[in-house]
Symmetry: C2
Subunit: 336 residues, 2 copies
Amino acid sequence: MRIVVDAMGSDRHPQPDVEGAVWAAREYGVEIVLVGKKDVVETELAKHDLMGLHVDLVHASQVIEMKEHPAAAAKSKKDASMVVGIKMLKQKQVDAFVSAGNSGGVLASALFYLGRIKGVKRPALSAVFPTRTGHCFMLDIGANTDCKPDYLLQFAIMGSVYAERVLGMANPRVAIVSNGEEEGKGSMLVQQTYPLLKASGLNFVGNAEGKDIPAGFADVIVTDGFTGNVIVKLSEGIASFLLGMIKEEIKSRTLASVGALLAKPAFEQVRKRLDYREYGGGPLLGVDGIVVVTHGRSDSLAIKNAIRVAKQAVEEGTLDALRSGIEQSLAVTSEE
Amino acid sequence: MRIVVDAMGSDRHPQPDVEGAVWAAREYGVEIVLVGKKDVVETELAKHDLMGLHVDLVHASQVIEMKEHPAAAAKSKKDASMVVGIKMLKQKQVDAFVSAGNSGGVLASALFYLGRIKGVKRPALSAVFPTRTGHCFMLDIGANTDCKPDYLLQFAIMGSVYAERVLGMANPRVAIVSNGEEEGKGSMLVQQTYPLLKASGLNFVGNAEGKDIPAGFADVIVTDGFTGNVIVKLSEGIASFLLGMIKEEIKSRTLASVGALLAKPAFEQVRKRLDYREYGGGPLLGVDGIVVVTHGRSDSLAIKNAIRVAKQAVEEGTLDALRSGIEQSLAVTSEE
């Protein structure tokens, strides 16, 4: 297994990207190809003991920055690290691509240079979330701001395949985000998508209201990229707000401070469960290859886990399963 | 000041509704009219000492339940408590209406029997939220699932007036929910609304991402009713998930349990800041009268605070301020 890692992806690149990749090479026994500016990546690599590891370096002279317009940058910067990495995946020189860079840039690069799985209308960005009962898998979290019902149906199909194969969820429960539980509640988009999901053969459990998501109501949460992005970022914001508020209140009270010291391991455990780094980012589902995008704020642990996710996705034959899921769905539609 | 309270509104009506109303009559010196089934409300009232208070009862034989279709119920149940209450407001027998009932039912009743402020395209449901720096005021949180740019502009105008008058926020910062900070990011709806907000003369501070809302980025958060509803319910869900997780982790550790006991006042303070009951529900902005809707799960404290909000809205001349805000905005548009 050979995985290409964007060495220029994370906000603090290349340090976390390189360190995480080396760590993954050691822990998972995968071959790593780092793609990025030769000199800076070499300097970073020199800090690590690579004995017995398979870590290569491919030079790419450009970087797509976080603030750049994704599609324009992916087109004009033909020697950007993520473009070079995606092209290697296209040419089957590697099995998967991992980046903590501009997610729109990865999406655009994948669309231009890798292409979509046959029949897929729109690829979707995804993420794994902690819930009261375990995890859920959400898509789209930002690739497609405005969606159509058939996009959401395909997100549900792809999410279901991924949840089953990679996350080990048997017969995953699929829900669509809405502003009411009952069938018939929701935006025009949700109301039009509902019957498609109901007829899809998926384990569709209906509308998920905002409160149902952290409660663990479903395994696969389908929504448009606008709503999904708001959900992901709001969740981060609220968690940080709440934990910050608890910390401040505790600090302002002497007895409470002593208490907090005793309760520290409990808090650590909570923080760990909420830590996006543990979940290893989400795949870009629908493109014709295994592409995993992780948070720009990723540290080496997050990068390492994103590589683990990519490896699992390859091992589980996710791409073929996605292909046949989409094919079956299109066959049903054309029969009608 | 005379406020009509839906005695059949909350999930556990009429107990919290009646108790909260009596409490408000005592604490704020307002006259209360309870509207609901005479016998059950009388039984409930008999439990309270009404000496020196002005609490009347108006009989209404029907109730709009939580699960009913709002518009159909508001039309067919002409003697429903909320319909009777709204009609009293229309006839100026009272200064404001408060209900913890089916919010769609209140909206439909208000649209049918009270009407809109002249020029208002759609009324919006609203809520006050705690943030890192204080509060923010969000609308629409569910009245209009699919919106148009001019609806959102009016929500911004009305939200701004309300935040200034009732919440005491000077020159309130207005933001629109989006999936990216920069101008140009967002759904078609957000992209089309942005220039309207920029040209509105409001203190428009741009796009608010999910994480920006609890961070206190803006005082007035404008969004469509679908997204707003997801935000409100997700926030509740995450807070309950997080606090529940902390509790469980602490319980599973002896030392941590001792610590939690010492830290209890700090936790209580956090819980209080997150408690929706403290904020007294949100007004239904854009209808031609002061209508306050509070959570179905309301207890008497929440009802009492909703009555406080209604009283403040009346005292601050909110309705006239809303009228002139909408008028000015329409004048600008027609000049162009």
